[in-house]
């Protein structure tokens, strides 16, 4: 059908002869319930994330709109007011900000916002034309003829890139501000941008322009790209939006609040966060990755049915309980029960589905609560780090990942932190206690901490000095003494005398650190020790990796260099001792053979030599003409893949363009 450019596809049969199985079988039976549960869980989480992101963007948006209002009310000056928004290389955050700004504009009809991007036009005429079109939103009485003329109400004919049209429009509609938002300033051609700015600034006395530039690099680089005259006609202010690292922290906060049903495990989370840091600063991809993780769990893990808080016993098919009984964590749990001599309970769990259902529900609930407590403990660690002078402040995402992978409990980090609490003066400790109490930690730690603080307050109240109390463990309070006895130097540490209050303070401090230590021991548990953690903790890296970071080039190269990996044929199976190096064989696809020959050659390949080698590999079985055809087709395919190209240096050679393994 190659002679037809298009045709209607008409299948001969309306439906396949064999009836497809539409009903879900086995563990798939719970799929509709899981899908509903997923929808609920994700919408809740997305709402939380959106709320956080909106809160981040709220400040710069408020600032920019205040700037626009300011400009509106201040007297007209010769230079065009300009807002420069520095957003970093993240393309998504800026569009959300601009969208928020444009929705803001809608409420005040005396202002119009025109968004421009580098793709809007490649020359001045096209840019001006689209500015005019967008700003005037093309009222009905403007008709355009084929030569690019537009007629305005005044009856005069104007070229469609004549800013007079916009000036008339502004005058007629009483607009007080025309905001031009340049979305990707860097992508504009420098001279074009300078010219545009200059032309627009000539009209500034008739059209009240305001420029918004979104820059990804720095103001200096923008200024160095613009012409001097263009820089002169702008008067600007710099606005800043939250960096992507901050946005990541906020999103993590949103997905780790106590309402979270499915927790993302440390391995996956660190992969996602690292990708944010290493490759892209884009909150949208982060949200996508989280959604994908949720989907993978709900869609593929049948046991996620238990995550639905409203699931009833009768909804769960019986084979799901069988699956629960196969979980590793359940087996360990059973062994523990046996050790505790609770054989009867174990028997019930193994035999009665309904009892197992209740247990699973309550255990999952407990596990999620334990994880929520863990996050609170991470907050406590962060508060301590914030108030102690020598401590390094780690980002929350890092601490959270450490805590989830059970690296925080008994870590040197936490221990040194507790030690420095012991050395801290009373003023610092008061701040720490206030901060911890402000966290409103569930459980009795809150009350006990309040108790300790109360006794400390009493102690401070009884002391008459304004100096903060010192701790006995503080090295500053001991002096090093050197004594020379019989030509030997003896070092001795002498505790400087501490007042009674200081001693009392030290005792209180010990109580406090013991309290914290016990708290950390209880909360910073290993999530994989929790029973049924397979249900509420999702930590599979490979689906994320396959979906978000594919390796197209590697796949093509591998398919050509080692076709056996894809074809799984018997003929070119690598020998056991050889590793994965496959050898050339005539039975491999011709392109693969040619590619392997190509890999062996240098950067310029003699076509004749290549043909000779190719012919030798194919052997004597095929006739010459066929081999020639195969060779030509393979070379054309390599050319199509962008691996060779003809070179002007030598007519009978091809140039190697792509190297393997990059």
């Amino acid at each position: 059908m190659e002679y037809e450019t298009c045709y209607v596809f008409e299948p001969e049969q309306q439906r396949p002869a064999k009836r497809r199985k539409i009903d879900f079988q086995g563990l798939q039976a719970s799929w509709p319930i899981r899908q509903v549960a997923y929808e609920k869980a994700w919408t809740a989480q997305l709402r939380g994330i959106d709320k956080k992101l909106a809160a981040i963007n709220a400040k710069p948006i408020a600032e920019i709109s205040a700037f626009l209002d300011d400009v509106l009310h201040s007297a007209q000056q010769g230079r065009v007011p300009t807002a420069i928004i520095s957003t970093g290389p993240d393309a998504a955050s800026q569009s959300s900000i601009f969208n928020a700004l444009s929705s803001l504009e809608g409420s005040k009809s005396k202002r119009t916002l025109v968004q421009l991007s580098a793709s809007t036009g490649t020359n001045l005429k096209a840019l001006l034309k689209s500015i005019i079109q967008k700003a005037t939103t093309r009222a009905e009485d403007h008709d355009e003829d084929d030569e690019g003329h537009m007629t305005t109400k005044g009856g005069s004919t104007l070229l469609n890139y004549d800013l007079e049209i916009l000036a008339d429009y502004v005058h007629d509609h009483g607009l007080r501000q025309v905001v031009l938002a340049f979305q990707d300033t860097e992508a504009f051609d420098s001279t074009l941008l300078s010219e545009l700015i200059e032309v627009l600034s000539f009209w500034h006395d008739r059209i009240p322009f305001v420029f918004l530039f979104r820059i990804a690099t720095s103001l200096e680089s923008l200024q160095s790209r613009l012409s001097k005259d263009a820089v002169k006609c702008m008067q600007g202010r710099l606005f800043d939006v939250a960096t992507s690292a901050e946005a990541v922290e906020h999103i993590l906060e949103a997905i780790t609040d106590s309402e979270t049903l499915l927790w993302i495990g440390p391995g996956l989370l660190s992969t996602i966060v690292e990708r944010q840091n290493d490759y892209i600063h884009n909150t949208d991809t982060l949200v996508d990755a989280l959604q994908y993780a949720l989907m993978s769990n709900y869609y593929a893990n049948a046991l996620s049915i238990f995550l639905d808080p409203y699931v009833q016993y009768k909804d769960v098919p019986s084979d799901h309980f069988e699956a629960v009984r196969h979980l590793d964590s359940f087996r360990t749990f059973c062994e523990q029960l046996l050790e505790k001599k609770q054989a009867l309970r174990l028997k019930d769990l193994l035999e009665e589905d309904e009892i197992l259902f209740g247990t699973v529900r309550s255990m999952v609930e407990q596990g999620r609560k334990a994880l929520a407590d863990l996050v609170v403990a991470v907050d406590v660690v962060r508060e301590l780090q914030k108030h102690l002078p020598q401590q390094q402040r780690a980002p929350k995402s890092k601490l959270y990942i450490q805590a989830l992978s059970h690296k925080l409990q008994d870590s040197s980090q936490v221990r040194s932190m507790l030690l420095s609490v012991r050395k801290a003066p009373s003023s610092t400790v008061m701040h720490i206690m206030d901060a911890i109490l402000a966290l409103k930690i569930p459980g009795d730690i809150h009350d006990r901490c309040a108790e300790v603080q109360k006794s400390l307050t009493e102690l401070l109240g009884s002391s008459d000095t304004k100096q903060p109390l010192r701790s006995e463990d503080d090295v500053k309070n001991s002096t090093l003494r050197t004594t020379v006895v019989a030509q030997k130097v003896e070092l001795s540490r002498q505790k400087s005398s501490l007042s009674k209050q200081d001693e009392a303070y030290t005792a209180i401090l010990r109580r406090f650190t013991d309290l914290l230590e016990a708290y950390f021991r209880d909360t910073l548990i290993a999530p994989t020790d929790l029973v049924f953690h397979e249900i509420f903790l999702y930590d599979l890296k490979s689906p994320h990796r396959e979906a978000f970071t594919p390796r197209p080039r590697h796949a093509v190269e591998r398919a050509l260099a080692a076709p056996h990996d894809y074809l799984d044929c018997d003929c070119c199976k690598p020998e056991v001792g050889e590793g994965d190096e496959s050898t050339l064989a005539a039975c491999q696809p011709a392109t693969a053979v040619l590619y392997q020959l190509y890999l062996e050659s240098g950067s310029l390949i003699n076509a004749s030599d290549l043909w000779q080698a190719f012919r030798a590999v194919l052997g004597e079985e095929q006739d010459e003409g066929q081999k020639q055809a195969l060779f030509q087709r393979s070379l054309a395919e390599l050319d199509y893949l962008g691996m060779v190209k003809s070179t002007r240096k030598r007519v009978d050679h091809v140039a190697k363009v792509a190297w393997k393994g990059l």
């Binding site: 300009t82 420069i84 520095s86 957003t87 970093g88 290389p89 993240d90 580098a118 001045l124 005429k125 001006l128 030569e147 003329h149 007629t151 009856g155 005069s156 004919t157 104007l158 070229l159 890139y161 004549d162 800013l163 007079e164 860097e186 992508a187 010219e195 032309v199 009209w203 990804a216 690099t217 103001l219 680089s221 923008l222 200024q223 160095s224 001097k228 820089v231 002169k232 702008m234 008067q235 600007g236 202010r237 800043d240 960096t243 990708r275 290493d278 490759y279 892209i280 600063h281 970071t549 594919p550 390796r551 197209p552 962008g642 060779v644 190209k645 140039a655 363009v657 190297w659 990059l662």
Partner: protein
């Protein structure tokens, strides 16, 4: 009445409005006289901010002439200029009360159409009433057709009542291909003239009158003080900065206004009296040494403060940096190395086996004088070379996924990487063996900063 057909009083008012332009005004009044025989075209030229356009316009307005004033810099193309010219003429005639031009609605594609339109519009007018067509900044017109200027100069041959004024900065000798065109030169203002013009408006010393320190200080006294202090200050600025770097009136005034609040800050604070000019000058001499005031910036730094709080500014700047992603930094480093190192030395610098540093050429330096590569334009490189260098300089293994290609695309959209080849950014991205360069923003300093951020000794890898 003399030669000028303008009443002397009017000329005096104009001279009052545009000081130091008496000679030019007198010449204008002769050359544009409505009754005397006048040349068909006048060229008014002079450097920036010498009052060319304003004086011509002011004169025409004052002499109640019908004229059309076309600002060429607002026009995008030559055709745009022609259309605007017709529109301006129509508007001028309407303002003048001429009839029959109410609905003049037409197009003007080229110069002959312009002549046609002008003939139609102007020939019907009564004899003796001249029409003046002013083209302001005609040398700055974009995409001007080469025949435009000579044609404009000859418009009079078709329309006897028309007179054309071309305002431009620097006339070239054979600009119009027409002899005998009078050129009116607007000379740059001298020091005396500049100071005279600036001293006509003196800005306030105190933000509020009376100042909080001295309630008895009234507006009259303030007026007297500022008009005493301001000219002296301007003269000082002229001698230190203006004469060399801000000669024209506009930039000089800008520089003066920028420096003024900082200069009078001690007076406002009460440390000096308003007439302590010499002491003030000595104490504020730093202001006159700092050339930063001459640089233009989009951000308004506001007034220059005496205590240059550069540290605070730097801190503020630091808070606003948005870092590039980790691998983007490495990619840029690799791209810089690929652009500035010759490809034949790659094996020396990037092979894992060869020991770096030792391979540096020892012995006597070569006799041939070469320009440091860093000072040359970046060379183009194929993408595979960039990836190879990236793999070589990375301290750890890189799993090449689609993210790396996304990064290349992102950097390209930021113009930190540029596709070179036909048409700059043109060409097919997928074309095998396409070449790339680092963008102009990637300077050596920028690269050094990046390298410091990822702890990479970029100097070791740069070919000398």
């Amino acid at each position: 009445m003399g030669l000028s057909m303008l009443p002397d009083e009017l000329l005096l008012t104009l001279a009052e409005q545009w000081p130091c332009r008496d000679a030019q005004l007198k010449q204008l009044s002769v050359l544009l006289s409505p009754s005397l025989p006048t040349p068909s075209t006048i060229i008014v030229h002079g450097s920036r901010a010498t009052g060319k356009s304003s004086v011509v316009r002011g004169y025409l307005e004052a002499s109640k002439r019908t004229f059309a004033f076309i600002r060429c810099r607002e026009c995008i193309t030559g055709r745009h200029l022609l259309e605007r010219t017709v529109a301006a003429v129509v508007r001028a005639l309407q303002d003048d009360g001429a009839t029959g031009t109410k609905a003049y609605n037409t197009r003007c594609e080229n110069l002959s159409a312009l002549v046609q339109h002008l003939q139609k519009l102007l020939l019907g007018k009564e004899e003796g009433k001249k029409f003046v067509l002013v083209f302001d900044g005609i040398d700055k017109l974009r995409d001007a057709p080469p025949t435009l200027l000579p044609a404009l100069a000859r418009l009079r041959e078709y329309i006897p009542t028309l007179q054309t004024v071309l305002i431009l900065r620097h006339p070239t000798p054979r600009l119009l291909h027409h002899p005998g065109i009078p050129h009116l030169h607007f000379t740059p203002y001298t020091r005396q003239q500049t100071l005279h013009i600036l001293s006509r408006n003196s800005p306030a010393i105190f933000p509020t009158i009376p100042p909080p320190r001295d309630p008895s200080y009234d507006a009259e006294l303030h007026e007297e003080d500022k008009s005493w202090l301001w000219p002296r200050f301007c003269a000082a600025v002229w001698d230190s900065l203006g004469a060399a770097a801000a000669r024209d009136l506009v930039s000089f005034r800008e520089a003066c206004l920028k420096l003024w609040p900082a200069f009078v800050a001690p007076v406002v604070a009460g440390e000096f009296g308003t007439r302590d000019f010499s002491r003030l000058l000595v104490s504020q001499r730093r202001l006159f040494q700092d050339e930063g005031v001459l640089l233009h910036s989009i951000l308004d730094a506001g007034a220059v403060t005496t205590t240059t709080n550069g540290v605070a500014a730097a801190v503020e700047r630091k808070a606003t940096t948005h870092e590039l992603p980790y691998y983007a930094k490495w990619l840029l480093l690799a791209a810089y190395l690929a652009s500035y190192n010759p490809a034949k030395l790659d094996a020396t610098y990037f092979m894992k086996t060869s020991e770096r540093g030792k391979k540096r050429r020892a012995g006597r330096p070569s006799q041939k004088r070469t320009i440091s590569r860093r000072l040359l334009a970046p060379a183009a490189f194929p993408l595979d070379r960039l990836f190879s260098i990236l793999h070589a300089i990375l301290p750890h293994d890189l799993r090449t996924s689609v993210d790396v290609y996304t990064l290349v695309a992102t950097l390209t959209s930021l113009r930190l990487l540029v596709r070179s080849g036909i048409g700059g950014s043109g060409g097919d991205v997928l074309e095998p063996g396409g070449k790339w360069r680092v963008g102009a923003a990637v300077t050596w300093e920028f690269v050094l900063g990046l390298a410091r951020g990822v702890k990479f000794e970029v100097v070791d890898y740069m070919a000398e």
